[in-house]
């Protein structure tokens, strides 16, 4: 294990352990690798180079070609998390019984990073399910953060949590009373990934978020 030390966006100094094997492939492809790090009630993306020196810290989860954050600190391998999510999804379809699905999920997955991964998977599924009819008709989507947030992300959360718009910030929504904020952020990320995948990576939008207790502020910006 290799340790990295950096100042989080919240001001606190963090020491974080990385298993070099987990990012070996990414480091071979790119000289700098973004790593998703969970800290208290938020995530940060830490950029490390081949010598494990911290090159940058962002409170943004990036969606760019071959540049999605890599989760390194998790007791459960990613493949196992996905397998569990699929198994639970087969029992309770989140597009129909979201809370029942979430309840089952939380009984098996508790770590914030793992919940984020599970959320990504479910966000991807929920968006594809919701947009299946127009996808089949060959529709294309505009690359507009505001429209993605209001038309693609917010409607999916409407059946899950309380949603509020911020009048002064048209690219931000507030999701209140979330049972698992990390899972909610994961869903938002999964939706962006799904759109990005459908649009064959022409979509270049970054997700910014703030977690405060059970409330999540989601902001989308052009990268």
């Amino acid at each position: 294990m290799t340790s990295i030390r950096f100042e989080c966006t919240c001001g606190e100094i963090i020491t974080y352990e990385i298993d070099p094997k987990s990012i070996e492939t990414e480091l071979n492809l790119s000289s700098i690798v973004p790593i998703l790090v969970s800290h208290n009630d938020h995530f940060v993306t830490v950029y490390v180079d081949k010598n494990y020196n911290v090159r940058g810290i962002e409170r943004i989860i990036l969606v760019k070609d071959n540049e999605s954050s890599v989760v390194v600190k998790t007791k459960m391998p990613q493949a196992e998390i996905i397998k569990k999510v699929e198994k639970i999804k087969a029992k309770k379809d989140p597009s129909k019984e979201f809370l029942a699905f979430l309840s089952l999920l939380l009984s098996e997955i508790q770590e914030p990073e793992n919940l984020f991964i599970a959320g990504k998977k479910i966000g991807h599924y929920l968006w594809n399910k919701r947009r299946e009819p127009v996808i089949k008709l060959g529709a294309s989507f505009k690359i507009d953060p505001k429209l993605v947030l209001k038309n693609e992300i917010a409607p999916i959360f409407k059946n899950i949590s309380d949603i509020e718009d911020i009048k002064s910030e048209d690219k931000t929504i507030v999701i209140k009373d979330t049972i698992s904020p990390q899972f909610i952020i994961g869903i938002a990320q999964g939706i962006i990934n799904a759109i990005s995948e459908y649009m064959e990576k022409k979509f270049n939008i970054v997700l910014e978020y703030v977690m405060s207790g059970e409330t999540v502020f989601l902001t989308l910006k052009d990268s």
Partner: protein, 420 residues
Amino acid sequence: MSNNESQKQNKNKINFLGIIAIGMTTVIGSGIWRDPLKWANSSGIFSILAVVISWLLFLTAGLSYAECVSMFPKSGGPYSYVGGAVNKKWGTLVGILYYIGYLFISSLLAFLTANFTLGIFGVQDNLMLVVFTLLFLILFGLLSGIVSPRLFGFLALGWVLIKIVFLIIVSILMLLNADVANYSVNELTFSGFQETINLSIWALLGFEVMLIFTEELNKKDSLIKGNLKMSIGILIALLSILGVYILVTLGASSLVGINDLGTSNPFVIIASNTGIPTPILSFFAAFSAAGTCFAVLATCIHQLRVMARDDSLPKIFNKTKKGYHIANIGVTIILVVIIGSIMTLLIPLTEGLIVDIFAATGIGIVLISAMLPAGIIALYLRIKMPILERPFKTKFYYIVFPLAILLSIFLFYLNIIQFF
């Protein structure tokens, strides 16, 4: 897909002129040989203005569909758009209604073709009418079922060009024999003008059949490429139809003044003024109705295939035997033969009322399944899915799309009120 396969597929697709011709040949049927004289009878030379107003109203539906097809480049027209915007069940319902509506319309068109064909020989016989109607339904059903999309486009183009040539010849002859007194507007009334709008507005129904063949359009064979091509095709078809109608209406108003027609047969009026024999006019009308019947039956057969491809109908409708969709052709011919038989056999008993009832039924179903969804879906998508790319974007949509909805409701009202 390899380049060779892609080129081979494109070779079997409908070209741009072909798709425009499909829209035009469906709209320009046999009615154009008689109706303009009735319009002139209601408002004289002002019937041209009425036709333009009717066209503008219909353009709202055209613009609605032009926007929808630019967003969703898939075959199926109203069926696909309703399925995409609302859900598959509603889409399937609309698709089936659309199919049934055009089964009625094609039976009616075969009846008109038979009627005009018998008119060529001066025969008036009910049994012959039944036989010819069924014969045309089977013949056009088979023809439309066996032709490839590309050949269908060429046939539609050839057919509509000949129709237009006939119309130009007759219109020029009508203008050459014009009576200036017929241009007088002394007897013009607002109700007469409104009546012309009510009568002429029907003449534009049917252009949306083009949308059933969206995926069959070769999107690489001209300057306009991609999803915008069908949208532009719709507008060109509608503009061309307007041009033809203005010419014929101008000719008709040269022969008939306001309230001059009385109970005269429009063919007799044209024949006596232009010197064209009535059998020739009957041939022109039969040829026009036949072209429309052929296009409508091809639409019905293809609609089944499109719906089966999406699993909205049993898979059998997407299966081919030696390259032909036998089930689609068989089911469509059987159904139109049943409808055509009932309609024509009941003519003597109902003194022709059954034809009006069948026509109104077919048109009513088409209005609900084809015209009404145009404005509703385009408006719904603008409000609910502004994120979708619209290569063709209608300006002033908040006026255009609601007008398209109102137009459909108005047409539905006219369709019912004619019986009272």
